[in-house]
């Protein structure tokens, strides 16, 4: 990929299965992903494509029935997160990698004050409680909460949704982490708040020198915020590359259809919104060949026989599609 930047996070050959009563759900298969230093990488894909499984794997927050394949590695600044002891893992969580969750209404504990929840994260710091509270208040101020010192005593229900997401962002950046993972941070918010929150995150990440892994199904947001994009479909990375290149020269039929479905890009007036016909394949019983073949309008002979590897479109753009190989 891009060699001008050092990498913060490198995910290699990550495969995750979930053991369920119905069978083994193969949620992620051979996913590769790189987050370079000081860059924002977006992950895009429809619901159930494995976005959440991917980011939860990075902090090992998967459910108990998840099995991560032995060959997988998630290397953060030279250390394999998957091989870490629980103590080392705790050292990374919140301090070096932190996370902003999808729904700010449920992400904060309702019976513990904001101040306590914030200072609890600072348990590693050797400073007095008064200093910790000053630091927490300072962070609240930076994310635009008015009168922050007084509001530390308040509880989550006394804040609006947008305010709560600002608090979550403040908590995420408080330990000055190297990587911030944002899991659809604006999905639960009003559209008017969306832009504010996104700009806030972008500003703060630049100021704190923090890389970001940004998950969304909103293509417009990804295009505006990210430097690089990873397109996921049914547990696989189907296309990845620099944002400009990928959006202007999308190669994978799925990416192109996804772009066509974006309501912001539809120009003429029509009765129905465009959709991708068919549905996501059953991840218990995977089709042979390309995972997207059953829904792909451009499929041809090789697609249903074997799974495509990843092929280079150019130095900054890779696609998992036979058409690129054969072009």
């Amino acid at each position: 990929m891009n060699n001008r930047h050092d990498t913060v996070l490198e995910v290699r050959d990550l495969s995750v299965d979930f053991l369920t009563g119905r069978g083994t759900v193969r949620a992620l298969r051979h996913v590769d992903l790189t987050v370079p230093d000081n860059r924002i990488v977006g992950i895009v894909g429809e619901s159930g494509c494995g976005k959440s499984t991917l980011i939860n794997s990075v902090l090992r927050l998967l459910a108990d029935n998840a099995v991560v394949a032995k060959s997988s590695s998630v290397v953060f600044k030279g250390r394999d997160v998957l091989a870490m002891s629980p103590a080392d893992l705790r050292g990374i969580r919140g301090q070096e990698i932190s996370m902003v969750f999808q729904d700010p209404m449920t992400a904060l504990n309702p019976v513990i004050s904001i101040g306590t929840q914030m200072t609890d994260i600072l348990y590693r710091l050797d400073m007095s409680m008064a200093d910790k509270r000053r630091l927490a208040a300072d962070m609240l101020g930076q994310v635009g909460i008015p009168d922050p010192a007084r509001r530390l005593a308040d509880y989550p229900h006394q804040f609006s949704g947008g305010m709560r997401q600002r608090i979550c962002i403040a908590m995420a950046l408080m330990m000055n982490p190297g990587l911030l993972i944002a899991d659809e941070p604006t999905t639960a918010l009003d559209v008017t708040l969306e832009a504010q929150i996104i700009h806030l995150m972008k500003d703060l990440c630049a100021r704190f020198g923090c890389s970001m892994l940004f998950v969304s199904h909103n293509l417009g947001l990804i295009a505006e915020l990210c430097d690089e994009v990873v397109v996921m479909y049914a547990g696989e990375v189907v296309e990845q590359g620099e944002v400009h290149d990928l959006f202007h020269r999308a190669q994978h039929p799925y990416t192109r259809m996804l772009l066509d479905c974006d309501p912001a890009r539809i120009e003429e007036k029509r009765r129905d919104l465009p959709t991708i016909s068919g549905s996501v394949p059953d991840l218990i019983d995977l089709p042979r060949g390309c995972i997207f073949a059953p829904r792909c309008p451009e499929r041809y002979a090789p697609c249903s026989d074997s799974a495509p590897a990843t092929y280079d479109v150019n130095a900054v753009h890779q696609v998992r599609c036979f058409k690129v190989r054969d072009a």
Partner: protein, 314 residues
């Protein structure tokens, strides 16, 4: 919090007043003349009239109700039909035993049930979790008088670890406490199982919530997450359940009081019903109603103390 406390206290008083109204109506609505039942078939009309006047039953209903209310406020619950001793004094003698018994039962339930539930939730599907599951259902299913009888036979008669009957020597706190252990277990054992199941369910629910995942993502210790972030929320339904549960502990106490031959309100009321001693029945029921209102009041205040949404919402 102060405003909430005052509001909640007013509600408790209202509940007791309504309970008194129902209590008095019940006595009026029950077929048959209380005086006739109390004095027996050979009583003369003069004796019955005298009895009614003594009980204040010759007056209109509402007058009786407000007199009853007024008397209760001044601590006057009437006199025992037979011994003519003040009912308030008699209840005063018995009440501490009942409260001590209910609190011991509650103590057993809380000390065993809550840790069992927490353990089961944190170590879900482990061998111990399944074992506590079976034990809990067993505890719930066995009636308290059976537990009482077997505990009596095993620990008092066979092993002679604990005393069998009575409440211990008056004034000797240690002796009284030793006498409380077995009856307390009999009253509380069902609640041990109940609480263990209840706490396990609400803990599992809370542990699956987003903010717990967030706490984990921030590297908080398991101890901090379980006992502060999760338990503080998971305990809320349990607190409400316990407030109501004290009522059933008091009624469960009747069996324990009879089996272990302990003094107590429950036994006194049962005896009074058998002898149609209405002032004692009314006084006893009134006091247990007050205890019930008090325990729900305490549980609501504890819940409000734990949960800012309650104390600021109401």
């Amino acid at each position: 919090m102060l405003f909430y406390t005052i509001k909640r206290l007013g509600l408790a008083i209202l509940i007791v007043c309504l309970a008194m109204l129902m209590l008095l109506s019940a006595i009026h609505l029950v077929p048959g003349d209380p005086a006739g039942i109390a004095l027996g078939p050979r009583a003369t009309p003069e004796m019955r009239a005298e009895f009614r006047a003594l009980m204040g039953m010759d007056q209109p209903f509402l007058v009786q109700y407000f007199k009853f209310l007024g008397n209760v406020v001044t601590g006057d619950l009437g006199v025992d039909v037979w011994s003519r001793r003040p009912v308030s004094t008699m209840i005063g003698e018995q009440l501490p035993h009942t409260i001590a018994l209910a609190l011991t039962g509650l103590g057993w339930a809380i000390m065993l049930g809550i840790p069992m539930g927490c353990y089961s939730a944190v170590h879900r599907n482990s061998v111990l979790d399944k074992l506590t599951g079976v034990l809990s259902v067993g505890c719930i299913a066995i009636p308290s008088f059976i537990v009482g009888l077997y505990a009596l036979l095993l620990f008092a008669v066979e092993l002679k670890i604990f005393p069998a009957i009575g409440a211990g020597d008056a004034g000797d706190i240690k002796d009284q406490l030793v006498h409380l252990v077995l009856p307390g277990l009999a009253v509380g054992l069902g609640w041990v199982g109940y609480l263990a199941r209840f706490v396990r369910t609400s803990m599992l629910e809370v542990m699956g919530e987003n903010h717990i995942r967030m706490a984990r993502a921030y590297g908080l210790s398991n101890r901090r997450i379980t006992y502060t972030y999760a338990l503080k929320l998971a305990i809320l339904p349990t607190v409400a359940l316990l407030g109501v549960g004290v009522g059933s502990l008091i009624s469960g106490a009747v069996f324990a009081e009879i089996i272990f031959a302990r003094p107590g309100i429950g036994k006194m009321v049962v005896d009074a019903v058998n002898t149609r001693n209405y002032p004692i029945v009314m006084g006893g029921v009134l006091v247990t109603t007050m205890l019930f209102a008090l325990s729900t009041l305490i549980s609501d205040l504890v819940a409000a103390w734990l949960d800012p949404r309650i104390r600021q919402g109401l």
